[in-house]
Symmetry: C2
């Protein structure tokens, strides 16, 4: 069992460095596979958190003096802010010092750094951000794109289908993942021309292509991969992720009822599904939600470890 | 109290003529306002259903010999199939014989007939299909467009904002409805150029414009109107509508728990919110879901009656 080496941006989440490091510690109880972590961020902040947590084993610190603010132009930040946590993490990966990167920071900065430092896979013009949508089957569906590419042409949608298929296949023991295109109806004349053309191409390229699915089917988990443009995917993902906390808000005021419901509905809890992989990049890069709790960070770490393992075959 | 005269396409739903006519009968118990209905469809089928229901009062029959099949080109059907239920209903409305039309049939045929027979409102290039999304506040949000316009430019989104505002205002006693734009983030640099431009224009045109909302906020019901393109709106609406039945599927197997949950979650039941209004048309036209139950049809009828009443001021 080779130790898997991760770089983690500990400055990027909404809840601060402490939540992210607590998540990494938590991840150790979720996987038996050994992993080490380079904590990328402000060294002083990191040392304070580690001394609070009383757990410094297995960590290395990569001090990052730069900070990317809201006023920085995200698409160029990877170039101008080489000392920022995201850019340092991706650079460590490009230098072969780590196997994967996890960040809860700005998606565009992460994507820009990944594309320009690690590079794209052959035949991929637009890498995609994918995400796991909780479903009532208990097995999440991989949805892509969820925000990296707002306007998509046929070639992009077809590439997303292929990337999603390949990623899910890593984890499916011999079974081929099924792929569908998100559309406004099942009839073969509904939808944009890009979607209709993509359906024809995917049908000829993937034996497990299942045609169209509508918004009402997403939570049913009928296919392993769903392809759409990044605007629709982002909106849909966030709406689906809001179902579990809203149900708890509506139903949870009665303590006994609340506990029963939480147990049954827990399959729809987005916290269980970890980070969103950037697909089409020459390397393993995962984007955790900005609002990730330590539990969500822990699952993101495990997802990174599992992805590197599966990729090694 | 002037009787409100409706034309209803009784051939268009997935569950057949009987469900639609049963819904009309059911609507009588949901409103005290008098209304009459012209049943547009196959006369023989209608007479069979009416004799089964043993209720023929208040109905007139508009025999429609034409049928629009899946192979007809929807955009032209309004012209070629003048004897189809949708086209007959809209024509009765254009002739001043009814005040509003309700159909659970093909959206594109209904929209085509409405645009070309009734016409558009001044300054509206693209009428929109709006729909009520259930929210946890118990007060639904009007979402538009939900499928009539898949690709939208700035001018269309701004028009949708204005149309949604005007429609909701009909029902709000003196209070001005709030309007938001659906986007992938709240930051003013996120989103497509059409969305960013629309935000600027809506901000200058509507005093109750509230900026951006994300997918996670839709079910929270924070604004009265949410504007988006028709592809995203269709997917989002269907996903949100799937939430109530899926929750019941996951939680409802325990009879006692199921009943408690149904009672609390009923505010998210899409059946309670009736049909989707076509906005920007010179007349009241409502589209019910193809899969409408009789209860959903009943609420669509009430929505049509209320819209005509409110429009008269």
């Amino acid at each position: 069992m080779h130790t898997i080496r991760l770089a983690v941006d500990v400055m990027g989440g909404d809840y601060g460095t402490r939540t992210i490091i607590a998540g990494i510690v938590e991840a150790r109880s979720l996987t038996t596979w050994p992993f080490s972590v380079r904590l990328c961020g402000n060294e002083k902040t990191i040392r304070e958190v580690l001394s609070l947590l009383q757990d410094e084993t297995g960590f290395e610190i990569e001090n990052c003096p730069d900070y990317i603010g809201q006023n920085d132009i995200a698409a160029r930040s990877w170039k101008q802010k080489s000392g920022s946590p995201i850019v340092r993490a991706i650079t460590l990966q490009a230098e072969g010092l780590v196997d994967a990167t996890v960040s809860a920071g700005d998606t565009r900065v992460l994507l820009g750094a990944a594309i320009f430092i690690l590079g794209r896979l052959p035949d991929v013009t637009r890498p995609a951000l994918a995400a796991f949508v909780p479903t009532i089957t208990g097995r999440p569906t991989l949805l892509l794109d969820v925000g990296a590419n707002l306007n998509c042409r046929t070639e992009h949608l077809v590439t997303f289908g292929r990337l999603g298929f390949e990623y899910q296949k890593l984890f499916f023991d011999g079974y081929l993942p099924t792929v569908a295109l998100l559309n406004i109806g099942k009839e073969p004349y509904k939808g944009t021309s890009a979607i209709l053309e993509s359906a024809e191409l995917l049908n000829s390229q993937l034996s497990t292509f299942r045609g169209f699915v509508e918004g009402s089917q997403v939570l049913r988990g009928e296919t392993d991969v769903i392809v759409c443009d990044g605007f629709t995917g982002n909106v849909l993902l966030k709406a689906c992720e809001s179902f579990f906390p809203l149900t708890m808000a509506v139903l949870g005021d009665d303590a006994k009822l609340g506990a029963q419901i939480r147990e049954k509905m827990t399959i729809l809890n987005p916290e269980h599904y970890g980070a969103a992989p950037l697909l089409g990049i020459a390397g393993t890069v995962l984007k955790a939600h900005g609002c990730s709790s330590s539990g969500a960070i822990a699952r993101s770490i495990v997802r990174a470890v599992d992805t590197v393992r599966a990729g090694r075959g």
